[in-house]
Symmetry: C2
Subunit: 224 residues, 2 copies
Amino acid sequence: VITMRDLKRHYSMGEETVKALDGVDLEFLKNDYAAIMGPSGSGKSTLMNIIGCLDTPTSGTYILNGQNVAEMDDDELARVRNREIGFVFQTFNLLPRINCLRNVELPLIYAGVNPREREERATEALNRVGLGDRITHKPTELSGGQIQRVAIARALINNPSIILADEPTGNLDTATSQDIMEIFSDLSKAGNTIILITHEEDIALYTRRIIRLRDGRIESDKKQ
Amino acid sequence: VITMRDLKRHYSMGEETVKALDGVDLEFLKNDYAAIMGPSGSGKSTLMNIIGCLDTPTSGTYILNGQNVAEMDDDELARVRNREIGFVFQTFNLLPRINCLRNVELPLIYAGVNPREREERATEALNRVGLGDRITHKPTELSGGQIQRVAIARALINNPSIILADEPTGNLDTATSQDIMEIFSDLSKAGNTIILITHEEDIALYTRRIIRLRDGRIESDKKQ
Ligand SMILES: Nc1ncnc2c1ncn2[C@@H]1O[C@H](COP(=O)(O)OP(=O)(O)OP(=O)(O)O)[C@@H](O)[C@H]1O
Ligand SMILES: Nc1ncnc2c1ncn2[C@@H]1O[C@H](COP(=O)(O)OP(=O)(O)OP(=O)(O)O)[C@@H](O)[C@H]1O
Ligand SMILES: [Mg+2]
Ligand SMILES: [Mg+2]
């Protein structure tokens, strides 16, 4: 469902070029469940942003569901981002001035879902990540791990077929992390494609494949 | 050096009261090296913000270096925050429009250090966390773990005697986390007071005392 050939992402900073990705070849099948690991700065989030159609490569090819992403127009890209891909960001990116129920409803508003169904589904999603009693809180009125869970609920609310999560348990204690990983495992059993970035080996053990990056390239790619 | 008696921090949200801290008794000695652990939402960051004089308790006493913090005036509080305490925030809080060298220099600017010494010390601090080649990058041009390391460098630059770090390795791979924990271990050997929040048991093992919170109260407090 995802094919990437010789993908590069370079940033030119004055005289220097930062090679965030430096030639990545990667394929994901429809029901893949993979963890991306690697040192800080090795290119994991950059790779994830390209997969999620939030960034474009400097060179190389990215084919998503049979279509070359470089040739998609803005409408097609918007549809992919809103309907087919759910993204949990490393820095959460919630809207600070609305409460977490509204934050989780946002993708449903873009999808044209009616208000009553929106509220029901968003409430259920927040209950599922253990935040049923924080629905009216704004992000500034939540703990770090609670903000992270709102971001997860928001990413999953549209039932996207591809789920990309960048350090989804980075701020969570062990017990809460296990709850979140069970949600991902259920989604994987339901047939979705799941790609996680994590620096914790315990979290990577939940997945079926571990891809390790180093200096913008793939160092290893093993099924487990 | 730190004494807290029956500390409470309540938030009133309409009809409900959120009891973020619900009666905490805690003491830290001058050279303590402690980890604070506990479930997401159990009050760790709230406790840390009160210790760091960034938030005031709803009730209870907090005595820092022999002084009752509730009785300090604004100048004394500012001096404590800028000179005596170094804070690594769970959400980093870097200024996005200046590069990371300038971000690390900020506490030195407030301390009135001259420009050339500022630049030398900030450069050295960034080298020590492995970011010598990222000095001109702004936070938006850094990876999550790199942003985290800039926040750490900034917190340590004034040589504060009390270091408070909220999930300092949350976005770091194992090798980089070890580098950071070595910096904290050196600072502990140099006589500083260090209090870390972490959800990772491996990180807590570097410290000499583990305090576990649950529902705004201390569940256990053990030397190790
Ligand atoms: N401004 C606020 N208004 C209302 N409730 C708040 C506010 N800030 C925090 N809370 C609540 O206080 C509780 C404790 O928050 P705190 O940030 O201290 O938790 P934490 O232990 O650091 O959690 P985490 O591990 O997720 O970072 C949480 O349940 C949170 O929802
Ligand atoms: N806008 C940018 N301009 C210049 N360099 C950038 C930019 N964004 C990222 N980089 C650099 O690209 C490299 C890869 O960044 P990326 O965020 O993908 O790393 P990462 O593997 O996710 O790291 P972490 O584990 O710390 O989150 C880093 O060295 C970073 O400094
Ligand atoms: Mg990253
Ligand atoms: Mg916290």
